[in-house]
């Protein structure tokens, strides 16, 4: 009953000075809008990554250079180190061959990095990633070709290439450049296949954006690179998905032997891969959110500032209210409610702006931000707490005013 009265008072006060109220809540609006937007972009990317990872199938095994995780003796991951970047570490030919020796995996597909620029006679495309690989690529990526066919393991020295759709558009300016030639490091390759559009390609996970990829046969890639090539990942699938853990262990053992006992590599099951990606994105999102949250604090200080001014301006009103019987506590609650309502309104406005921003991001970029209820509720909750916290000082100032002095006060 009382709180209703205070809410009405707050509404009247906010209405009587609409512009000022709006400007007061602006800091909170910006804070909440940016936090919600960033978190929802993070959620969106997570969503995209997980879609992408799921799309490859549950039984995919990813082998990466660099020790990114630690496992206990049961094979459970005990420690993620998502920021351990590949830093020059890569697999050698010998490592690849060691994996090939394992009988329980098939196919084993090395992804070798070819450094260079893809050109045609009239055009060049800097964004393309050139990958030297083997026949199993469509299988491990779980992706069909839209046109043509992939090269077989017995033509690994051939001058043929399979490209993603964006490469087709950007390099050749057409959808089906089958039979056209492109030049990589002065060697000419003929396009023999074009992939279907990969699902959920995203600017944030560019390394996994195969729409931008040019696949060339492994040996041909090796030759263009002068005999050795850096393998930055090996993808494979077990022949029997029931024995996934045994297979992972066998792979790890074989690689450890091949790399002279060093465990500077990571063998990941698909669910672990997802967890790893999420872990990295969480760290990134929370760091950016923390920066954005500072603006919330600044917004809170803005509210406190204006409320202090407002209390001084309304000294006479406070005197009148006290004269007609308002207790200090009632005055305190009145101003506290007002600050909280302003802050909460700012939070709601911030969420609306974030929704708008997400809508625009969806239209104009590759990002697919996802706003979830917890984000909205937490953001509004934080706005409420900010209002309460920063409203206390002005409300106390109002409540403690001496009624006689307050009544005598003239602007």
């Amino acid at each position: 009953m009382f709180s209703g009265t205070y809410l009405k008072l707050a509404r009247a006060a906010i209405r009587s000075n609409k512009w000022r109220s709006l400007l007061t809540m602006f800091g909170v609006v910006i804070g909440v809008a940016s936090v919600v937007t960033i978190v929802s972009i993070g959620e969106g990317v997570k969503h995209q990554v997980s879609e992408q990872i799921k799309q490859r199938g549950d039984d995919l095994i990813t082998i990466l250079p660099g020790g990114r995780i630690k496992r206990d003796h049961n094979g459970q991951i005990t420690n993620f180190n998502p920021l351990d970047v590949q830093g020059g570490v890569s697999f050698s030919e010998a490592d690849y061959k060691a994996v090939l020796q394992i009988p329980s995996v098939k196919p084993v597909v090395p992804f070798g990095r070819v450094v260079g620029l893809a050109k045609t006679a009239s055009n060049e495309y800097e964004g393309a990633e050139i990958i030297a690989a083997t026949e199993g690529v469509p299988l491990v990526l779980n992706q069909k070709l839209a046109y043509g066919s992939f090269f077989a393991d017995n033509e690994l020295k051939a001058n043929s290439a399979v490209i993603g759709q964006r490469v087709a558009e950007r390099l050749f300016g057409e959808n089906v450049p089958l039979g056209k030639s492109l030049i990589i490091r002065d060697r000419e390759f003929i396009v023999r296949g074009i992939f279907d559009k990969f699902s959920n390609g995203s600017a944030f996970v560019a390394s996994a954006d195969y729409d931008n990829a040019i696949f060339i046969p492994y040996k041909a890639g090796q030759e263009t690179m002068g005999g050795t090539i850096q393998i930055y990942q090996i993808l494979t699938r077990p022949t029997d998905a029931q024995h996934m853990d045994d297979t992972v262990a066998a792979l790890a053992q074989a690689l450890k032997t091949a790399r002279a006992g060093q465990e500077d590599f990571t063998v990941l099951k698909q669910d672990e891969n997802l967890a790893l990606a999420n872990n990295f994105l969480n760290v990134l999102t929370s760091m950016i959110s923390a920066v954005a949250a500072i603006s919330l604090v600044v917004g809170g200080i803005g509210i406190m500032n204006i409320m202090l001014v407002s209390v001084t301006e309304r000294t006479k009103e406070i005197g009148i209210r006290k004269a007609v019987g308002a207790t200090n506590r009632q005055i305190l609650y009145q101003f506290l409610t007002e600050a909280t309502v302003i802050s909460l309104l700012g939070g709601i406005l911030g969420v609306i702006i974030a929704l708008l921003a997400n809508f625009l991001l969806r239209i104009f970029t590759d990002l697919r931000p996802v706003v979830t209820w917890p984000i909205v509720i937490v953001a509004c909750g934080i706005a409420l707490i900010v209002g309460l916290f920063f409203g206390v000082a002005p409300a106390l100032k109002a409540a403690r005013k001496d009624p006689i002095d307050a009544l005598r006060y003239e602007q």
């Binding site: 009953m1 009148i320 209210r321 019987g325 506590r329």
Partner: protein, 290 residues
């Protein structure tokens, strides 16, 4: 039992050498149903006395009993609630809240009782009707004339059906026609049984009162029962002499002194009950002592 009972109440402001005595051991008893006019020059302690009686202030020394309850040591919150339930204020400048309309302003004291909005506004509306401002309910304060504003302020003071209405120079800013309306309204309320305390500079207004209290330098120097409708002789003399002779004021022996002595000599009427000549001299003694 008396409604208001002040016993040797003092109010001091400041510390040490800068101490100001706003009220100097004032004793005053007011019964239910009285219409007390308080007169005196500026700085005589009238307003402090009203704030004290109105529970906005606490005495430095002495005891104040309101309606049988000792106020001196009452907490701020309890005094606020007592104010809400038993007192109504009317100030010189009307002190309506400019953002609220007339009806909401009148209903203000009820809000702090926790009454629902519907009941609040109904009751406020009834009071406005009673004082003849029913057609101004949805006006904003700045849309009203001075007299109407004061009448709204009186309505607000009335809305919680208080025991005492304290009016601190309610006609100070009004022309004589509006003053008349406001005073008639207060007079009507008096007739209906409300206790009214009126602070005024204007002796004409004492004709509405049943008792006149004169103050000077924080002391009550005269306290006179009068007949309603008549201006007490003392008020009239005081008023005119103060206006006429500058010398008296400069000499420090005020016009009042003369008024009192001549009054006592000429007229042995018992209308003048107490003339505290003794206490009148006391501040002088104190000052010498310092």
């Amino acid at each position: 039992m008396s409604l208001i009972d002040l016993s040797e109440v003092s109010k001091l402001y400041g510390f040490g050498d800068a101490t100001t005595i706003a009220l100097d051991e004032v004793s005053l008893t007011i019964n239910k149903g009285e219409f007390v006019a308080v007169m005196g020059p500026s700085g005589s302690g009238k307003s402090t006395l009203m704030h004290m009686i109105g529970l906005l202030d606490r005495p430095t020394h002495g005891t104040y009993t309101f309606n049988g309850r000792l106020i001196s040591h009452m907490s701020v919150a309890r005094r606020a609630r007592l104010r809400r339930d038993t007192l109504g204020f009317v100030f010189q400048s009307s002190n309506l809240i400019p953002r609220l309309n007339v009806l909401e302003n009148v209903a203000l004291p009820l809000a702090y009782k926790g009454m629902t909005q519907t009941r609040r506004l109904k009751q406020a509306s009834a009071v406005l009707e009673q004082i003849g401002l029913a057609d101004r309910e949805y006006f904003m304060p700045k849309q009203l004339s001075g007299g109407q504003t004061q009448r709204v302020a009186i309505a607000r003071a009335l809305v919680n059906n208080p025991d005492v209405i304290i009016a601190d120079e309610p006609t100070g800013n009004l022309d004589s026609a509006s003053s008349l309306l406001v005073m008639e309204l207060l007079s009507d309320l008096h007739k209906m049984g409300h206790t009214i305390l009126l602070v005024t500079h204007n002796p004409e207004l004492t004709r509405y009162s049943s008792r006149v209290v004169f103050m000077r330098d924080g002391l009550i120097i005269a306290d006179e029962q009068t007949q309603v409708g008549r201006i007490p002789a003392l008020a009239r003399k005081l008023y005119f002499m103060q206006r006429k002779t500058v010398d008296d004021d400069l000499a420090g022996v005020s016009a009042l002194m003369k008024a009192l002595s001549s009054d006592a000599a000429q007229n042995k009427s018992k209308k003048v009950k107490k003339i505290k000549t003794k206490s009148f001299k006391r501040p002088r003694k104190k000052r010498v002592a310092k």
